[in-house]
Symmetry: none
Subunit: 221 residues, 2 copies
């Protein structure tokens, strides 16, 4: 029982190795907890046995610690490495479109399977980027569509107004008949005058209409 100074190398005997694993693992977890408590440190510890069994401990949230780790280690990483253009900083509007395309492609790859070569932080940044991109694309699209609709509504109002005007004009022509009259001249003039007034007035109506009809879209957003 002359306990030796045990070599730090893989223990050959399976049983002994398992026993040692069990014992030392507990010791390790205990020490981790102690350190966490004593020194107010945040600790995450993940251990896989040789057989693949998982043991873990975290002083707070494993996820949060992992995220924090990703962020920190990212800082220390040299700016240039992965093929990912994770320059989330300030993507200018001109670039974003193209960038979005590339990202979509990369995302496909990534979601598919090939996560190797990418750090956790890269993945997170990527997802954030895509989300932001998605939002921007959606908003832009939305704005354009709304603008289009607004224009069309204005146009519709104009046409309807003119339509009404023409109908009225036609009606008056019919009533008065073309039986050669002096009144006719006056009517024509009046008609034209009113028409122009309407043209000047209508834009306001259009604005109202647009606002009213535009509401549902806002809700839809």
């Amino acid at each position: 029982m002359v306990r030796q100074k045990i070599q730090i190398k893989k223990i050959d005997n399976l049983t002994a190795r398992q026993v040692t694993f069990s014992k030392r693992r507990r010791g390790l977890f205990k020490k981790a907890q102690e350190l966490s408590t004593l020194c107010d440190a945040e600790i995450a510890l993940i251990v896989f046995s040789a057989t693949g069994k998982l043991f873990d401990y975290s002083s707070s949230s494993m996820m949060q610690l992992i995220q924090r780790h990703s962020l920190q280690s990212e800082k220390s990483n040299k700016p240039g490495q992965q093929p990912l253009h994770t320059q989330s900083g300030s993507s200018n509007h001109a670039k974003i479109s193209k960038e979005l395309g590339d990202l979509t492609l990369e995302l496909k790859q990534l979601m598919g399977e090939e996560l190797q070569g990418l750090g956790m932080s890269d993945l997170m940044k990527l997802e954030k980027l895509v989300e932001t991109g998605l939002n921007r694309v959606g908003k832009t699209k939305n704005d354009k569509l709304l603008s289009e609709i607004s224009k069309l509504k204005t146009r519709e109002s104009e046409l309807m107004a003119e339509n009404a005007r023409l109908k009225q004009e036609a009606n008056q022509r019919q009533k008065l008949g073309c039986a050669r009259n002096g009144m006719e001249q006056g009517n024509s003039a009046e008609s034209i005058t009113n028409f122009h007034q309407d043209l000047v007035h209508r834009p306001d109506e259009d604005s109202d209409t647009s606002l009213k009809l535009g509401l549902p879209f806002s809700n839809g957003n």
Copy 2:
């Protein structure tokens, strides 16, 4: 120097705490390495000092281990989500309760929502879901807007057609009927005609614009 059995609770003295942190941290990392070597285990260890400094160790790839951890802990999670914490190792339950509260808060801050009880993999899934949801919402919105535009265009066409008809009608009345008037009438008629020409012309512009603007939507989808 009657070294006591030191209580496992936060060390009050800052200096002593820092020293202890430094010493014990080294010890912890050493033990982790030893366990890894002796028992052929895979170990990831992440430590944040109270001041936020990061120390970590992993027997192989940190990322790989973290991923593996995500997968494993996901498996073990009951479908009805766990309160948080893979409380495997030797974590003390009393502490967990308190930490749960803190974590809930932290996660709220982090995500802006109640995501506690979700593991890394759950969050990833969630994000994916959100993204998909975003797409669906966007598409639905898009469809609605496009449908609206389509309706408006149809309406526009109808109005324009009617408009043209009315205008032609009016012209014919003028020509055939009351053609016995002087320049006054002619001027009036011309004025109206020009106006209508403009009206007829403009819609084409709009159509072009629509097509131009419409293209990006198709691409966007």
